[in-house]
Symmetry: D2
Subunit: 136 residues, 4 copies
């Protein structure tokens, strides 16, 4: 299983009045990492849209371990697996400075084609090098 | 010149680490007020899109007078005027509790039709009851 | 178990390029509903902060059922329960127009006091009228 | 007058339903560039806060020239000048691919010390190498 990793710096406007990154922004970071992964894997979201594919988030499980703060840089790691018509992204965020865990997440994606749920075969083909079957 | 007014409550996630509403959110509030105004005036953004009209912001002038904080409710007032092919929204935000001034803004809008700048006549017709000519 | 319910209108800037509300915004809606619930229950976030209590999200499970679109109004329902030192919010979002389900979520909160995880007794006391013990 | 320049990539969640970057996000980009500039100039926002300095935006003038779209990378340039107790940031955003102009802005900052408007001398000292007097 190949692991993709990217670095993202916290932006000051992402902090809330408690001085920590607001919970909702982690969904942005996770999405950003997935989109960068897709682009690097050779099949960008823009290309998917052009091909009539529309990946949508079906489920998100987020475990918040420790908050990010002003000036922090994070590493976002992900692996991708398939379970039937669904694609699972196991994602983890670490603080880059000490690789301490910040958040763990499982994001489940389904793929629409022409507005209907597809079996995901076209997506699976494009990401064959990165996919493992999820046994569960 | 008719004045439109709407109330918006600050949401906690709009605060930044200084405990005040982040500057960028005021553009959201102003947009929200303009869209509510359009809807109430009988010509919503959804309808404009359906009609092939695409209003775009050309210029924004924002004077920040005092910050909004947690729990604040604001009043957003606006008047609309026309200057040639452009539409000007004079907008002001007040803290509802004491009507103290928070922000003044002038937002200049142009209207695309089929991707090209239009003279704005269709928009002007729809908002005729609210429009004054801007002399300047 | 008392159910709290509030209405929130989708704002146009919350839509993404697919024309649907971006996934991250649902965390904002859920937070907004929880904060309104706390205020109505008589113990606002501002008051908690003044009392040295700092509730933090530990886990979020979100099931996305159907997307919200431009012009939609949603109802956000919640119930609150306690499991040891943790507080669970069962939240559901419905489209107001037809009460069709949009999202279901379980948000787990822990409460810091002076920067350390507390047993949550002070919070439990304040919300005694709304709390059930979570058996699981 | 020294020009600072930084690169920022558009993130997909910053697009709105018209497929272009929402207007409010440009204030985020401009802020991000200013904060990076301050850090590189040797006096970060975190350090200012630690020193009791609190720079606040007083006025923003934004001219929107052309929209950024999915996949775009931008260059944000800025110069800094002083006009009495105020600091002016002249900022311009270009599309990196062809250096075509996207937005021009003038952001006016005042500096609070202990909650009161200061003459800005401490800030001016720190940024002496970058400052020109603004004649106007």
């Amino acid at each position: 299983m190949k692991t993709f990793s990217t670095r993202i710096a916290v932006r000051d406007y992402e902090l809330d009045s408690q001085g920590i990154v607001n919970n909702a922004n982690y969904l942005h970071y996770l999405e950003l990492a997935r989109h960068e992964f897709c682009q690097q894997a050779g099949y960008s979201f823009a290309q998917m849209a052009a091909d009539g594919l529309d990946p949508v988030v079906r489920r998100a499980e987020l475990d918040y371990i420790a908050p990010l703060r002003m000036g922090d840089v994070m590493e976002v790691e992900l692996t991708m697996s398939r379970r039937g018509a669904k694609f699972l992204f196991n994602q983890a965020i670490f603080r880059a400075a000490d690789h301490s865990p910040v958040l763990r997440a499982v994001i489940t994606i389904a793929c629409l084609e022409g507005g209907r749920i597809s079996r995901g075969d076209r997506l699976a083909e494009k990401f064959a090098d990165y996919l493992t079957d999820s046994e569960q």
